[in-house]
């Protein structure tokens, strides 16, 4: 049944309709509405001074146009809406959708615990709720494989493998089907530098700066070249694609020395440099060797200031967990700042990697999103040229590269970009403590 012309259930629908216009055709859409429904003189949001809504005027005018949203809410009968639908089918232009407006209610517990009269034991409700939560948690752990108990009811396991065409990580994140390449988007990778002699990057625009005293940007370690390969690379010498944003502009900030060591001083200098170069994405696959769960005010402020300037910082959650031994560790700094996106690692069965930490109790210490981070093929310093390694360091550049694709596709920056990454992530049957919004997906 078409809800537009069906019975309007007064407990569910308000009797008004929400009309969504094509963003560039709001005026045309309003004219169409006027002509067909006779709904006239609808106030638009620009008629009101900011924050000074006159709800009575909206009600008496039978609706309102939200110009910035490209949406109108109007009072119309079914006959009028049917005419509108027919007219728009002919033109297929200015109006994308019309839907009945729903009543809104405060969200309540949809599964309230009802105690029957047999509650002679006088068990407190909080205790029973606690039991329910524990059973929910047990169920989640069983489904996620944290508890090694076989069940016949488990979902069919997804498994990805590298092919001659592309790595498993690009398949699992749908990068291989994306039409975007990160063109025009600046991606800074703060790491051990980059191997400028790597043949896969010939002809690419690369800006660089070393923040390690006495060392050039040239990568001697390999880690930085691997991360840049995943975020910004293209194909290997055999034609296998392993990089995400293959037309992005690469900004190499060397903040970790050839030994793999660095400190906050260098990392902060690298972030400042990336922002002063208007980088849209700052990828940081680094952290302390031991879990440091406490957050810092400095990184929290830095993350916020970056977002305000249109830069999104994406950081590895760390490799400090040992799930096999029941050690879930915590999200390390700097990823454990609220304003910095923390990335967890998944294996090719889309399970949390054994080393990938779990969200902590501290504010900001949450896993925000997950990405492929086990057996990841990417570029390495010559003469090796390529290497397959594991780590949340390898998951992070998947997210950073995909952020570049979203930045290109939607011209989104900062908070908007974060929102797009989260809302488009594919949900997994795993605790969100482990994978946040789920596995990142390319637009």
């Amino acid at each position: 049944m078409n809800p537009l012309i069906g019975d309007v259930n007064k407990n569910v629908y308000t009797g008004r309709y929400i009309v969504t216009f094509r963003q560039d055709a709001i005026q045309d859409g309003m004219r169409l509405l006027n002509n067909l429904t006779g709904v006239k003189n609808i106030p638009t949001t620009s008629d009101f001074i900011e924050g000074n809504w006159n709800i009575d005027q909206v009600k008496s005018a039978k609706g309102a146009v939200y110009e910035k949203l490209g949406v109108a809410v109007i009072e119309a009968d079914e006959q009028q809406m049917m005419q509108l639908q027919m007219a728009n089918e002919d033109e297929k232009t200015s109006i994308i959708a019309y839907e009945p407006e729903l009543m809104m209610h405060a969200i309540e517990d949809l599964n309230p615990i009802e105690l029957n009269n047999g509650n002679d034991a006088n068990i407190p409700l909080s205790y029973i709720k606690g039991c329910r939560d524990e059973i929910d948690s047990l169920y989640q752990r069983l489904v996620s494989g944290d508890l090694n108990i076989s069940t016949t009811d488990q979902q069919v396991m997804e498994v990805y493998e590298d092919t001659s065409m592309e790595t498993w990580g690009l398949q699992a994140t749908n990068v291989n089907n994306s039409q975007y390449s990160g063109r025009g988007i600046r991606v800074a990778v703060l790491d051990t530098g980059f191997d400028f002699s790597h043949p896969d990057f010939r002809g690419r625009r690369i800006e660089s700066q070393s923040f390690v005293s006495g060392e050039t940007v040239q990568d001697v370690h390999g880690h930085g070249t691997h991360c840049i390969g995943t975020a910004c690379g293209a194909r290997s010498n055999t034609g296998q694609r392993y990089g995400v944003a293959y037309e992005s502009e690469i900004y190499v900030g060397k903040v970790l020395g050839n030994s793999g060591n660095g400190d906050d001083m260098g990392v902060l200098a690298g972030i400042e440099w990336a922002l002063s170069n208007n980088c849209h994405i700052i990828s940081m696959s680094l952290g302390p060797a031991v879990p440091i769960c406490t957050t810092t005010i400095a990184y929290e402020q830095v993350g916020q200031r970056a977002l305000q300037q249109g830069g999104l910082i994406i950081a590895a959650a760390g490799n400090t967990a040992n799930r096999g031994r029941g050690n879930f560790s915590c999200v390390g700094r700097p990823a454990n700042s609220k304003s910095i996106m923390a990335v967890a690692a998944l294996n090719n069965r889309l399970q949390a990697a054994s080393f990938s930490p779990r969200s902590g109790n501290n504010e900001g210490g949450e896993i925000d999103i997950a990405a492929p981070g086990v057996r990841i093929f990417s570029s390495w310093t010559l003469p090796n040229r390529y290497k397959i390694i594991d780590g949340t360091s390898m998951a992070t550049p998947h997210v950073s590269g995909i952020a570049a694709l979203f930045a290109e596709a939607y011209q989104a920056r900062g908070y908007q970009l974060w929102q797009l990454l989260s809302s488009n992530a594919r949900r997994l049957s795993l605790p969100n403590l482990d994978v946040g919004a789920g596995i990142v997906q390319a637009p």
Partner: protein
Amino acid sequence: METKDVIITVDGKHLDRIEQVADDLRKSGFIVKDVHKIIGIITGKVTTTMRPKIANIDGIVTVEEKQNAKVPPPDSEIQ
């Protein structure tokens, strides 16, 4: 005298006057390494005895100790 590398976060109101905050720090005996105008961070060295004094300088949100960052050696399977 023992010195420590620290990271100083400057508040939003003082971002456009961050050089002034850096000067005030120098006057208090703080050795400025970098002044980052965009992210509002000043890094440098301070002696343990001077540290409480610099924390009270106008425009400073907090003084935090530097931590190291690292990645494992190149031959490690988990990076």
